[in-house]
């Protein structure tokens, strides 16, 4: 059974189509990065997965219809939607008590052990904590829950570099194992490139591109071409080009590295590079069609 399975998932709001026929399959043990411009439908997709909004089409999350069975689903699914969602009036100790009181899979000692490694005082109210501490608290609560699926929607928004790094390190070292699944959206793509197993670009309610990281690393090559080799490199049909400090960088899909190596320096592109290429080409294609 896949952790998430969607067929023809659609969601229309009053005057916009947020999701336009999404097909999706996320297997157990994967870490999927959902990447897209603002307003592409990432959050809408996650809200559907979490049972927060009704939708059209088929959607199964750990075998349940999220809209009909949100209460049940949330025993096995956790999410951090944005750092701002912990109630500001709540005390740290109250948050731990409450989650322990309502969640059958919450391990209080784990949460307390995690909190002990931070500066957070148990008597503090959430509104007295810094933004980074609120995220740490939320992470402490979530990591103490033995869940099958963890959904992170811009979890590190507005945090400084140190907190962001710690956040993903804790997640990977203390939480993730091969039986859990994580879906994460973020604009700081570079920072999560190393932890992802899969990635998916979403654009205007549709899945624009998706592949596993293994495929990504074997298929895509970025060449920084020597000036005299640019013309030869072009012959191999790059999917995207950009100029950087007077040098031409070309992105290739499915061209063997040893064929490119003579033309300059080659490296695996970052997800951000590929994102820009895919989205740029899509916009161009649509511009031509229009």
């Amino acid at each position: 059974m896949s952790t998430i399975e969607a067929h023809g998932l659609r969601k229309a709001f009053r005057n916009t189509i947020a999701l336009d026929g999404v097909d999706l399959r996320v297997e157990e043990g994967r870490i999927l990065g959902l990447i897209g411009p603002n307003g592409a439908g990432k959050s809408t997709l996650l809200n559907c997965v979490l049972g927060l909004i009704p939708f059209e089409g088929q959607l199964n999350v750990i075998g349940l219809d999220p809209w009909r069975a949100r209460g049940r689903l949330m025993r096995d699914v956790c999410f951090i939607a944005d750092v701002a969602v912990l109630p500001r009036w709540m005390r740290v100790s109250q948050a731990v008590d409450y989650v322990e009181g309502v969640h059958p899979r919450f391990d209080r000692s784990k949460a307390e052990a995690f909190l002990a490694r931070t500066q957070i005082k148990k008597t503090s109210r959430v509104r007295e904590l810094s933004k980074g501490m609120v995220t740490q608290l939320h992470l402490a609560l979530v990591m103490a829950i033995d869940a099958k699926l963890l959904v992170l929607d811009e979890p590190t928004l507005g945090l400084d570099l140190l907190f962001r790094k710690q956040f993903y390190e804790s997640l990977l070292n203390d939480y993730f194992d091969r039986t859990r699944t994580i879906v994460v959206t973020t604009h700081q793509v570079e920072e999560i490139q190393q932890i992802l197993t899969d990635m998916m670009f979403i654009d205007r309610g549709k899945i624009a591109f998706s592949c596993s990281m293994e495929d990504f690393e074997s298929r895509y090559v970025e060449l920084t071409a020597r000036p005299e080799s640019v013309a030869d490199a072009y012959a191999l049909k790059p999917i995207y080009e950009r100029q950087m400090l007077g040098r031409t960088m070309l992105l290739f899909d499915g061209v063997a590295r040893d064929r490119l190596a003579p033309f300059g320096d080659i490296r695996t592109p970052s997800i951000a590079d590929l994102f820009v290429a895919v989205m740029g080409n899509r916009q161009q294609a649509q511009g031509v069609a229009a």
């Binding site: 809200n47 979490l50 927060l52 909004i53 009704p54 949100r70 209460g71 049940r72 689903l73 949330m74 025993r75 956790c78 999410f79 951090i80 939607a81 944005d82 701002a84 969602v85 912990l86 109630p87 500001r88 009036w89 709540m90 005390r91 109250q94 008590d97 409450y98 989650v99 009181g101 309502v102 969640h103 059958p104 939320h138």
Partner: protein
């Protein structure tokens, strides 16, 4: 003989163990506690008012012995006003405080969590919308009534004890006080008043909860404007007053239903003797109101489920 030492996870015994570990969670109980954590006014406001009432009464106590001596020769209702009215006022102050706290609680109960987006946190936990809304409805329907009842009982008891002590010590005699104010009757009346009042006003709490689940902003304005607007439109369009009289009936009809008028040639007012539970519980207005209240609560559940955070 085979020994039953094999530990089979599917054995009935093991399942029982598992079941008890997961039944340890009590979502409703913790939702209630969470409401009380957030809205401390639920118990602080009645206690503060109770304290103020007692403070005022202690000042009054200094001139009570003289007033009682003076009142001994006056008509019964003047005696009643002197010794018993403060008790009634104290009770009313605490009860009205509870009602006000309940109204303001309901106005914010389902709107604030959307406005500060903490609803995303609450919804990330395995607590259904039904449990959440039930817990929120329990605050004005059960928690606040219990708190105000206890607060009012304590206030009345302290007032009575203090007044009795002062009167006995001053030699004025407690006869006038005790003939007009019985602690047992007062307690009975208080509990009756709280129970009937809560049931009667349930649709108002339901309405406020529903509007707070629905309105993006200015919940109070919507809650008031919609019924008043309907009444005005009806008056202008049809020259009738059905909506308005319905609102008035719900706001003011309760005392007439729950209590009878005192007899003409009485020599005191014993509120316990004026209680009319049969009349109250047989009135269709009560039961229609309760059905409407349940409908409002159900609508609040439905709205919370589908509403996006504002």
């Amino acid at each position: 003989m085979t020994t039953a030492t094999n530990i089979d996870p599917a054995a009935p015994g093991m399942q029982t163990v598992r079941a008890t570990t997961s039944s340890r969670t009590r979502p409703f109980y913790w939702c209630l506690r969470r409401e009380i954590w957030e809205h401390r006014a639920i118990y602080i406001a009645p206690l503060v008012v109770a304290g103020l009432v007692l403070f005022g009464y202690f000042i009054r106590l200094s001139r009570l012995p003289q007033a009682v001596r003076h009142a001994a020769n006056l008509p019964w209702w003047k005696q009643y006003l002197e010794v018993a009215l403060p008790f009634a006022l104290a009770m009313a102050a605490v009860l009205v405080t509870g009602a006000i706290v309940g109204v303001f609680y309901c106005i914010g109960a389902l709107g604030n969590e959307r406005r500060d987006r903490s609803i995303l946190f609450w919804k990330s936990l395995p607590v259904s919308d039904l449990t959440t809304v039930l817990a929120k409805a329990t605050i004005p329907m059960v928690v606040i009534p219990v708190v105000v009842t206890i607060a009012a009982l304590i206030v009345q008891f302290v007032m009575l004890a203090a007044a009795t002590g002062v009167l006995a010590a001053s030699g004025s005699g407690t006869q006038v006080l005790w003939s007009h104010w019985s602690f047992a009757h007062m307690s009975l009346t208080l509990i009756y008043l709280v129970v009937t009042g809560t049931l009667w006003y349930a649709p108002i709490y339901g309405w406020l909860l529903m509007v707070s689940a629905w309105a993006r902003r200015m919940t109070f304005l919507w809650a008031v404007l919609v019924p008043v607007g309907l009444a005005v439109v009806e008056r202008i369009a049809f020259d009738t007053n059905y909506v308005w009289s319905l609102i008035r009936y719900r706001l003011k009809g309760f005392i007439d239903l729950a209590f009878t008028q005192p007899p003409r040639n009485t020599t005191t007012i014993d509120p316990a003797a004026l209680m009319a539970p049969a009349h109250f519980f047989a009135s269709p207005g009560l039961w229609i109101g309760l059905v409407v209240a349940v409908a409002f609560f159900a609508a609040a559940v439905w709205l919370r489920r589908g509403r996006e955070p504002a």
